[in-house]
Every structure is written in structure tokens, then in C-alpha cells.
């Protein structure tokens, strides 16, 4: 059980929570994740670590309210507890030796991309961040990204903030302008990571993506998080969550993401009805 120290809405559907978890804070690195249960009987939700403070023994997570699990997390308040907060799991982001990196962040994926940008920036790497959101109301962590990037490009689908267009448009423009990146690190929706990877493959820029498939234990036991990378089946929880974007079978990953959709939709409806009743 861990105590919630801070809670903040970054936009209407994205929440940042800081918890006291000294054992997790002590070993964790950017790119790794934790398994969170909001309450007893709740789902095990894998969430990538957004920030940590080893001295203070605290870890932050940022999540979007999408299903019943994240909704129950959202209902938790400062001073309360989360039933489980287990980790750090998975492998850390490899940052060694990188001199010039482009971080491509999409939506709530920015939350996971930020600690990577921060680590790279602090080790002297030149960081360009391209962050994309649907519209200006959904922009998160802009100030933080500006702090940890030499260059920050903001994109929106509707042009209500930054430039209108997709993150791939901005990335291609950078590449065509002669920017030579050692690596692109793309973190966001599957479809975004797929098209970033297709683009960088064309320009032969090594690309790492962060996958977040369905999983239960997070330690390799269930095999629910299977992905195909380079034609080989891998378990994202132990071999990832980061993989070579040019090797990942994104279509399969998207298909697997649909497996429990009808259950989730039904559960969400029931949860909403329950909530309505409570409100009445």
C-alpha cells in the first residue's frame, strides 16, 4: 500500500499522481513501469514511471482516464492509499552515448517521454522534442519539455495551438532540413508510433518506441503482453517496454489491443451508471 502525496489534473482527462514509494524510487530509471492497483479487487494497471525522486522516496505516474481501472485511480485523493504499486518493471531506456535525439511525444505518451528527455538533456545530449496533441485543451507538460529540450515543436490536429499537423510532418521537416539524429524516441498512441517508424525507416534513422500492451503480472509470468518484433514473439514486460520501431509489428499490437474492448465498454457503462446512482 502506498500513500498519495499529490494529485493534479494536467488536462481534463489526464492526472498526475505522486506517491510515497521509496523501494521503487530507489532503483527506477526512465522507461520503466509500475503495476498499480487502485483498490482491493481492482485491476492491475501497468503505468510507465513519469518522474521520481530518490532522496524523497517518491514516484509520479501520469495516466489518462480511459477505462474503469483508471477511473477508480482518478477517484483516489491525496492522503489516501493505492492498494498496490509494484516495480520498477521492464528495462530502462538506453541513453548511453546518444548525442542528438528527437523525442516524438503524442498525447498522454508525453508523460512517459518527459523523463527520457530530462535524462538525455541532463547527460548533455541535444534534445529536439516534437509533441502532438488533438487540440490546445489537451496540451500537457509544455513548460517541462521546453526546460529539457534545445528545441521544442508543438503540433495540434486542429491547429488550435502550435502548428497544425501531425508529429510526423514536423519530424520529416526536421530531417529534410538536415538535422541528423542519432535516434528518434517515439512514445504515444500505437498508430503514431507506427507512422513515425515508417517515416524514420525511410530516412534510416534508428527509432525506439515504447509499447504498453495488456498485461497482468508484469514479470513474464502471464505472456499476455506478447508482441512480434523482428518476426519473433517477445514479452513486452521483461524484454521491453521499448523496442526497435522498425521491427515492431504494429498492426498485430493494435489488433491485440482490441481483445477486451467489448468487456471494457460494458464495464465502463456499468461504472458510469453506478456513479450516476451515487450522485442522485
Amino acid at each position: 500500500m502506498v500513500e498519495i502525496l499529490e494529485k493534479e489534473y494536467l488536462n481534463p482527462t489526464v492526472v498526475r499522481m505522486k506517491v510515497k514509494a521509496p523501494l521503487v524510487a530507489r532503483n527506477c530509471e526512465p522507461g520503466q513501469f509500475v503495476i498499480v492497483r487502485a483498490e482491493e479487487g481492482g485491476e492491475r494497471i501497468p503505468l510507465t514511471i513519469a518522474d521520481f525522486d530518490r532522496q524523497a522516496g517518491t514516484v509520479s505516474i501520469i495516466f489518462q482516464i480511459v477505462g474503469v481501472g483508471t477511473r477508480s485511480l482518478e477517484r483516489k485523493e491525496v492522503g489516501g492509499n493505492l492498494a498496490s504499486f509494484a516495480g520498477p518493471l521492464g528495462k530502462k531506456t538506453e541513453t548511453e552515448g546518444l548525442k542528438k535525439v528527437c523525442i516524438v511525444a503524442g498525447g498522454v505518451g508525453s508523460a512517459i517521454a518527459l523523463p527520457v528527455a530530462k535524462k538525455l538533456y541532463q547527460q548533455g545530449c541535444n534534445v529536439t522534442t516534437v509533441a502532438g496533441f488533438r487540440n490546445k485543451d489537451l496540451v500537457i507538460l509544455e513548460k517541462e519539455f521546453r526546460t529539457y529540450s534545445q528545441k521544442f515543436i508543438l503540433m495540434s490536429d486542429d491547429g488550435s495551438v502550435g502548428e497544425k499537423g501531425l508529429v510526423t510532418d514536423a519530424l520529416e521537416k526536421e530531417i529534410l532540413a538536415g538535422e541528423k539524429f542519432d535516434r528518434v524516441i517515439a512514445i504515444g498512441p500505437l498508430v503514431m508510433m507506427k507512422f513515425v517508424s515508417l517515416l524514420t525507416k525511410k530516412y534510416e534513422v534508428p527509432t525506439v518506441v515504447s509499447m504498453n500492451p495488456v498485461m497482468i503480472d508484469g514479470t513474464g509470468m502471464c505472456g499476455g503482453c506478447r508482441l512480434v518484433v523482428g518476426g519473433k514473439t517477445v514479452f513486452a514486460c521483461v524484454e521491453g517496454p521499448e523496442f526497435d520501431g522498425h521491427q515492431v509489428d504494429f498492426d498485430l499490437a493494435m489488433q491485440k489491443g482490441m481483445a477486451y474492448r467489448s468487456f471494457e465498454q460494458k464495464a465502463l457503462e456499468e461504472d458510469c451508471n453506478l456513479f450516476k446512482k451515487e450522485a442522485e
Binding site: E43, R44, G69, I216, T219, M221, G224, R226, Q255
Partner: protein, 470 residues
């Protein structure tokens, strides 16, 4: 006078048609009278062969004699000398290949139902026993146990009884390991597991859940930073095996670990559960062990119209416990022996790429096998019969073909040597290549049984005691 009846006292069970649709325990347990009658079948041999078949060396004739006399408390005391988990062992041990295999009564008739009586004694104690387990006086020495499955719990129990201060670290949010996430409620009620764990806590054992050794805390840190003098690793068998078949990553293909964990640990079978589980019409389970039986019977209880077990060898080769095979057959699980999957077939709608059924399992292509020459295991190796392919319609495939050791601890503990198969290498006392680090159970052997893991936990506990106390 011993009871000379040739057959075991029958075990009352739920009717197959009824139990196939609920998750309540199948075997209902002996009454006092049943237990006393069955225990009286023991001849109290001077040289009890049954004990040689028991990995934890329970004093079998002694506890049976107490039961025959009607002194169930005394019988429990005798059991407790050797096992920390009698209610579990009585239910899930493969008695027919261990104690009961050696029982002299088995030569002319059926062996004594040792497991059934053991279960009765433990259940009777858990229901009526008033004496709480006594915490031993601390000897001041601290031992860490990694994993709260049968190996870890046994090791912890033995060490706590000897006065050690024991802390168990469990990666999941509920202790019990395979007893909790793997074996279903209808075979091993979770209240029984919880009770056995409570008993250990009464002995002073501490359990820290949600701590992943090798990730949250390293084994080295346990020794150097956290001050544990010895570490026992009982972290289980980890990674589920797949067959690398075409279509194995389709939606609706799960490892038995995932299917059972969703059901048992996450309680997906209960109404209102937060974790989903596929509820199939036609399920196919690949494999022939206890886990395959558990998965098949779980799919049935979740409402399947048909459940098939596909196994590449013959009925005689099934590694599962006899009782589980019989129960599964009674419940209507179909067995396809000498059959092996070659491909899993998925739905695909070329007209509509957004059809939500795209990528879901609709069938499994299998090939018939025949028995060839004996292989390394001494069993006749199954070989495919050319041209015998056929397709089974199904909407769920559960792969239950074993597990491989999880590399998590080996890869994060310098100097720890591995076996050829990727388990942790240990000597006959459970000691690893690193000083103060011991291991046992599936983490060493790969997938095996609860009782063998308990035996390994017990052996290591003894070695740890000798090492620390001299």
C-alpha cells in the same frame, strides 16, 4: 484391528453435471466417521514404505493411528512436524505416484487414502482447532524468502518454527504463488490457502507483497543492505512456453498462466470482476498436465459448450493427477489423444478492416500422431501422420505446455550459476553457487509439483539452519 476392506472409503463429491457449472470445491471431504474408517485401513507397518514416497517425510502411520483413535488434534500435531501446508497437500499432491503408490494395502486392493485423511485432519483443525500456533523464541537470525509459493512457505514455516526471523517477499499482491494464481478454487479453495498463510503469520513470518526481487530489490541488497543472513529463492517457473505456431498471437490464444491468473488471482469468474476473461463457446486446451486439466475445467465452468484437450501422446502418458483426469472426463471434457496442433486459424473480413472480430481465433488445425521409437524420457515419441490434418472449430485456445524458469533473478544476481535449462543451479542441500543463497522448487527444476517444491523448501531450511547455527 485394522479395517480390511479392499477399497478406499469413497470421497463424497459434487455431481459432475452440477459442479461443471460452479466454482465450488469438487471433493467435499470426509466426515469424522469416514476419516476414522479409512485411517483404520492402515496396517501401521514397522517399516512404512509410504513415508519413503513422501517428499517431506510426513509420519504417515503415526497420524493415521491418531485419526483411527479419533484424536484429530494429536493427528494434526504429527502432521505439523513435517508439513506446514497439510490442507493443501491433502488436496493437490499426486498421492498415487508418491505415498499411496508405496502403501502395502495397494498390493491387494486399494492403498489407504492417505491424502483424503490428511485433508480431513487439516480441515478439522482449521475449523475446530483452538490452539494457536506458538511463535518460537527468536534466535535473532534473519532470513529472506523470495516467493510465497509452496517452496517459500515451507521454507519459511520450518525456519520460523526454529526461531528464525523470516520475511517473505512476494511479487504479486496476494501471497500463495501457484496456490493462489494457478490452482483453481474448485480444486483448492482460496480460503484454505489464506488460512494456511495465516497460520504461518502466527508463527511470526512476515510477508511483503508487491516486492519483485531482482527488480524492486536485488538479492545482493537483501544480504548487504537489508541484513538478511541467508536468502531462499522460490520464485517459481515464470515464463509460459508457446509452440511458435502460425496464428499463436491471435486474440483468444492465451497461456494457461494468463487464463488461470485472470480467473484465480484476479477473480474474473465472479460477477462484477474488474479483470476480463474470455468466455468461450468452444475451448481447446493444448497439453496434458494438471494445469491443462485446470484450464479445461475452468473454461467449462465459465460456460463453454464444449471443451477439448489436445494432447500429442496417449492417455497413459498424461502427466496430470489421476483424480483430475477422471474428474475432467466425468465433467464432459473431451480428450483428443495422439493429436498435435499445427496452426491456429483467425477470422479475417477483407471487406471491413474495422470488423472487431478480425484477428480472433475461429479454429485450430491439428494433425494426428502415431507412436514412434522411445525418446529420452522412455516414452514412445509421437510422430505426425502425413495427410491426417483436420480443423477444430473454437474461439479460445489455451496453451498449457509447461513453463521455463524466469531469468529475472539469475540476470540480476552476479555469480549465481544456472542449470542447462535456465534454472538456478543448487547442490543436494539447495545451496547455490553463491554463499548464503539457496533455492528450490520450480525456480530450480522448471515446472513440477507443489509437493516437490515443498520438499525443496524443507531441505533448504535445514541447510540454512545448519549453516547459520553451525
Amino acid at each position: 484391528m485394522p479395517n480390511m476392506k479392499k477399497e478406499k472409503t469413497p470421497m463424497p463429491v459434487q455431481e459432475p453435471a452440477v459442479r461443471a457449472r460452479n466454482f465450488k470445491e469438487v471433493a467435499l471431504g470426509y466426515t469424522k466417521e469416514d476419516a476414522m474408517e479409512e485411517a483404520a485401513r492402515c496396517l501401521n507397518c514397522k517399516n512404512p514404505f509410504c513415508m519413503t514416497g513422501c517428499p517431506v517425510k510426513v509420519h504417515i502411520p503415526d497420524f493415521l493411528q491418531e485419526v483411527a483413535k479419533g484424536d484429530f488434534d494429536k493427528a494434526y500435531e504429527v502432521l505439523s512436524l513435517s508439513t506446514s501446508l497439510p490442507a493443501v497437500c491433502g488436496r493437490v499432491c499426486p498421492q498415487e505416484s508418491q505415498c499411496e503408490k508405496e502403501c502395502i494395502r495397494g498390493k491387494k486392493g486399494e492403498s489407504v487414502g492417505i491424502g483424503r485423511v490428511e485433508r480431513f485432519v487439516a480441515d478439522y483443525h482449521n475449523e475446530h482447532g483452538t490452539a494457536k500456533p506458538q511463535k518460537a523464541e527468536s534466535n535473532g537470525h534473519r532470513v529472506a524468502i523470495v516467493g510465497s509459493g509452496p517452496a517459500g512457505l515451507t521454507c519459511a514455516g520450518d525456519l520460523a518454527k526454529a526461531g528464525f526471523e523470516v520475511t517473505i517477499f512476494e511479487a504479486l499482491h496476494t501471497p500463495g504463488g501457484v496456490l493462489t494464481y494457478g490452482i483453481p478454487e474448485f480444486r483448492l479453495p482460496k480460503s484454505i490457502v489464506a488460512k494456511e498463510i495465516e497460520n504461518l503469520k502466527e508463527l511470526g513470518v512476515k510477508i511483503e507483497t508487491d516486492v519483485i526481487i531482482g527488480k524492486t530489490v536485488m538479492v545482493d541488497d537483501l544480504q548487504k543492505e537489508f541484513g538478511f543472513e541467508a536468502v531462499f529463492i522460490g520464485s517459481g517457473a515464470g515464463l509460459p512456453n508457446f509452440m511458435n505456431l502460425p496464428g499463436e498471437n491471435l486474440n483468444g490464444v492465451l497461456s494457461a498462466n494468463e487464463f488461470l491468473t485472470r480467473n484465480n488471482l484476479m477473480k474474473a469468474y465472479l460477477p462484477g470482476a474488474k479483470t476480463p476473461i474470455p468466455k468461450a463457446k468452444n475451448a481447446v486446451i493444448v497439453g496434458g498436465g494438471n494445469v491443462a486439466m485446470d484450464a479445461a475445467r475452468t473454461a467449462l465452468r465459465l460456460g463453454a459448450d464444449s471443451v477439448k484437450i489436445v494432447y500429442r501422446r496417449t492417455r497413459e502418458d498424461l502427466p496430470a493427477r489421476l483424480e483430475e483426469i477422471e474428474h475432467a472426463m466425468e465433467e464432459g471434457i473431451e480428450f483428443l489423444f495422439l493429436t498435435n496442433p499445427v496452426e491456429i486459424i483467425g477470422y479475417s473480413n477483407p471487406e471491413d478492416r474495422r470488423d472487431p472480430k478480425n484477428g480472433s481465433v475461429i479454429g485450430m488445425k491439428c494433425v494426428k500422431m502415431e507412436q514412434g521409437e522411445p525418446d529420452a524420457s522412455g516414452r514412445r515419441r509421437p510422430v505426425p501422420i502425413e495427410g491426417s490434418e483436420f480443423v477444430i472449430d473454437c474461439d479460445l485456445v489455451v496453451m498449457s505446455i509447461g513453463t521455463s524458469p524466469n531469468p529475472l533473478i539469475l540476470s540480476t544476481t552476479p555469480g549465481l550459476e544456472a542449470t542447462r535449462k535456465g534454472g538456478i543451479a543448487v547442490d543436494e542441500n539447495g545451496k547455490s553457487s553463491q554463499d548464503g543463497i539457496y533455492a528450490g522448487g520450480d525456480a530450480v527444476t522448471g515446472a513440477a509439483t507443489v509437493i516437490l517444491a515443498m520438499g525443496a523448501g524443507k531441505t533448504a531450511a535445514k541447510a540454512i539452519q545448519e549453516k547459520i547455527l553451525g
